[in-house]
Symmetry: C2
Subunit: 226 residues, 2 copies
DNA sequence: CAGTTTTTTAGACTATTGACGAAATGCGGT
DNA sequence: ACCGCATTTCGTCAATAGTCTAAAAAACTG
């Protein structure tokens, strides 16, 4: 949902003619100016002024327009939103980029993790993705493994719902890209095959016993910004 | 490039604290307020006022900030931009969503196309993707076939650089999703196997002899908005 | 620690936005 | 042609953005 909001807001903002883009998305959501204005508690001529370019919207107003379109569609059953749901990303619980690269050892420390793989790993991490393995497996035919890389492959992947560690590694090996590191969230027992697979990929394995919510919180707060 | 700009602008706009997001991205690009301000030809205290939330940016200003960050990075070799390049999308020439669903027959008419597959096709099309098959093949190991679906699978895919029509269909069959239609741009000769493959997928094959630029233009102008 | 750079803060002024209401225009249906 | 609904246009005013300069505070480096 946030991604769609950002997409719309970004497109409006970057455009040479924000008014045209506002109008385009309003029509996409099949909402009249009167309806949008009513939802926003303004006069409909306000919407027209922006769409025709008489006024340039500030960010608070773009935010309000976008959120209103989303809310109106939800009230109508969410059909348009459904159409704009990207396929294959159901199992991604959280994904983000760090403001600066962070040493892997620091990330692991922050999430109270411990290395399963032996050796000294001096990688720099630029982002993270937290994945629910069960959901990913259930949508096996459609899960978009490439989407877990978001904006960079130099990231650490956290898998929840893993027992022995194999399936994420096998899936990762089926894509053309390689993450910087893989971590399991509260795994049962990591077997030797997983270690071997990871070694062949040059990917360090880590484990953490943090709760998922706490993990995500730490990734967002502890690693993203000073 | 546009996608990254929209991503940054969208995140700034949708945020409860745009100033914090502006600061985050400025730091990500490793640019000081002084440098950014100088590039934008304003006083550095202007940047501070926005980052600290004393002023709320209008869309023209967000646009200017984002474009300045990108330009500054380009001047420094583009390393940060490179880091944020999504892998696997090198062969996508153009991708877009229609404001409303359009009957396939109308789309085909607009691009002066003709059906190769027999029968009456009454599909509704929600978007398009124009793909350079040569580039996609060259980055064979990393081309992200799922990315061609953008925000919806209900789209028509146009393949440029196709001789007999097989490779796109084989590639499509290797992903878990199915497009609404497939069109070739100036193909040599479509062989029977391609027809058969398409038939098995329930995907109509179309051909068009438009130049790629003209095709993209028509898709953007003729189909996107009335 | 000192010096330099970066960021923040505050006051001030001009231009523009945010928003209204009323009138005009456009469009589709009967 | 008329009606109802949607959109556009325009004038107006209060509030806020866009921007400056100068000083203070914070951060960084050797």
């Amino acid at each position: 949902m946030t991604e769609l909001k950002e997409k719309i807001a970004g497109e409006i903002t970057i455009s040479e003619n924000p008014g045209d883009v506002i109008k385009k998305w309003r029509k996409m959501f099949q909402v009249s100016q009167v309806e949008l204005a009513s939802h926003m508690d303004v006069a409909s001529s306000v919407i027209s002024d922006y769409e025709k370019g008489r006024r340039k919207p500030g960010t608070p107003l773009v935010k309000k327009i976008v959120e209103s379109l989303i809310e109106i569609d939800n009230e109508k059953g969410g059909e348009v939103i459904e159409r704009f749901s990207k396929p294959g990303q159901e199992g991604i619980l959280s994904i983000g980029e760090f403001a600066k690269s962070i040493p892997l050892t620091t990330v692991v420390e922050n999430v109270e993790g411990e290395f399963i793989s032996e050796g000294k790993w001096e990688k720099e991490i630029y982002g993270y993705t937290v994945i629910d393995s069960i959901k990913a497996i259930l949508s096996m035919k459609s899960f978009d493994y490439l989407s877990i890389y978001g904006w960079s492959t130099e990231r650490i992947l956290f898998f929840k719902g893993v027992e022995h560690g194999r399936s994420p590694l096998i899936a990762i090996r089926s894509t053309p890209l390689t993450p910087a590191a893989v971590s399991y969230i509260k795994p049962k027992k990591i077997d030797e095959l997983s270690l071997k697979l990871a070694e062949e990929e040059g990917v360090p394995l880590i484990r953490t016993d943090l709760e998922v919510d706490e993990l995500i919180k730490r990734l967002k707060n502890g690693c993203e910004l000073p």
